[in-house]
């Protein structure tokens, strides 16, 4: 709202000042009559002002442009308008630029020359204009849903899940061993506490690891009968893990885990690792 007022006032003040000048100039000034969008900042204003020069943006007179801008801001200020900081910053900078362009270069002065600064401003204006033209071209293209269309009745693609099963040699051996021992052993619960020591785990792993040429979940090394009871399983898992670390330390195995809570896998170190 405040912005719109500002615009309107700017236009009015500008239009008033143009009263006494020629029709051609008035026409040019009308380029400044802003549409509802208003100016989008100092650069936008500069670009609009530059159009009154009716030349290629590359050949624009930055000096003239700076003068126009400063006049504009001056008029706005005369109306005791609270001009946005951006516009004032730009005004100050353009005033500085103007002085640099007008005065002979001071060799003791540091920084870029007035010409360099002016060239860059011209470049910025040209670039902004180019982007606006490009945007217009883009929006004028044939567009999906307006000029060309996609299939009206898409067919759903059914997701078919195919499950393949796999097993490792270790699974096979353990499965067989389980069968061959089953009839003969008693549940551990009867003659053992629910504690599986690391020494036991280590001894067991040492015997088994020779067969772990492929990555194998350490849980598959749990002793028979320790997999189901949560207490025993915990103890056996911890011991087996500790034993795996020990074996890794000895350089006999590699351990890996793809992410937090993912299965921990081991495989023996063998010829391919040497």
């Amino acid at each position: 709202m405040a912005e719109t007022d500002l615009n309107k006032t700017l236009q009015m003040s500008f239009a008033e000042d143009q009263e006494e000048i020629s029709v051609a100039d008035r026409m040019a000034a009308e380029a400044l009559i802003v549409d509802v969008d208003g100016f989008e900042g100092p650069l936008d204003l500069l670009l609009t002002l530059s159009r009154t020069q009716k030349v290629d943006l590359r050949k624009i007179s930055v000096l003239e442009l700076a003068k126009q801008y400063l006049d504009f801001v001056e008029r706005a200020k005369r109306l005791r308008l609270e001009l946005a900081a951006d516009y004032l910053v730009m005004a100050a900078w353009l005033a500085f630029l103007k002085s640099r362009l007008l005065l002979p270069p001071d060799p003791t002065e540091e920084g870029p020359s007035g010409e360099e600064l002016a060239a860059h401003l011209a470049f910025q204006l040209e670039r902004l204009q180019a982007m606006r033209d490009a945007a217009a071209k883009l929006m004028a293209r044939d567009r999906l849903g307006r000029d060309f269309f996609a299939r009206g009745v898409p067919e759903t693609v059914e997701r078919v899940r195919k499950v393949t099963f796999t097993a490792t040699l270790m699974d096979l051996m353990q499965g067989y061993a389980r069968l061959r021992t089953r009839d003969e052993f008693r549940p551990f619960i009867l003659d053992r506490e629910s504690v599986f020591t690391m020494e036991e785990a280590l001894e067991r792993m040492r015997g088994l690891i020779g067969y772990a040429g492929a990555w194998t979940n350490i849980l598959s090394y749990l002793p028979v009968g320790w997999e189901n009871d949560p207490k025993k399983r915990r103890s056996a898992t911890a011991a087996t893990f500790a034993a795996s670390l020990e074996l890794a330390k000895e350089g006999k195995v590699f351990i890996r885990q793809s992410e937090t809570f993912a299965p921990i896998e081991v495989r023996k170190r063998d010829g391919r690792d040497e």
Binding site: D142, F149, A150, R151, G152, V153, E155, T156, V157, E158, R159, V160, R161, K162, V163, T164, F165, T166, A167, T168, L169, D171, L172, M173, Q174, G175, Y176, A177, R178, L179, R180, T181, R182, D183, E184, F185, R186, P187, F188, D191, E203, R204, R206, G207, L208, G210, Y211, G213, P223, V224, G225, N228
Partner: protein, 234 residues
Amino acid sequence: MSDNINMSEPDVEAVRDAPQQEESLFEAPPIAEQERMCEAILFASTEPVSVKEMNNRMPHGCDAAEALVHLRKRYEGRGVSVVKIGDAWAMRTAPDLGFLMQKETVETRKLSRAAVETLAIIAYHQPVTRAEIEEIRGVSVSRGTVDQLLEMEWIRFGRRKMTPGRPVTFVVTPQFLDHFGLSSPRDLPGLKELRAAGLLENRPPPGTIPLGLNSDEEEDGMVIDDGQPELFEE
């Protein structure tokens, strides 16, 4: 892309607004063009379109019915066909290509314990009959388990046993050996090695009563508690 004949709206309007003009001035587009129009309409429509509606949408003088005959012919044998649904027309993918509307995702799962054990028995004892497998496992072998292994091509039927009933036997396949990195079934570690490896370490002292512990692995609960000596000793 847009170098086709431009049929932008003003023309249409003109035709619509001036129905009594000289015919030559607003001649209907050539039939090939009408065919293109029908094609685009059918493609983009969310539901089948009647000839009447097509004619309404197309420039004055068009004959959608005729254009459709050409269009339908053009799509004969293609991956898409022009079909009539009641009074209306639509385009559909060719029925024989329905299988393309599926996206397959492959998921790898661990073989069930029952399947692993069955497989192990076949590997260690081949050729082995179903009855023998059941005897070793102590539970009946479900048909699903055997079928699964057959389907995976890890086992196949061997020759029949020369015993009463001439039962079929199962043996492992080259694919099985390949998967497990074995050059022959004899490469499977023997019981002695299994024991040395600690897999059979938990032998209780002889004479204790076996408790069977197999409650967790029966797939169909048919316990054959045979208590018989094992058939296949090393």
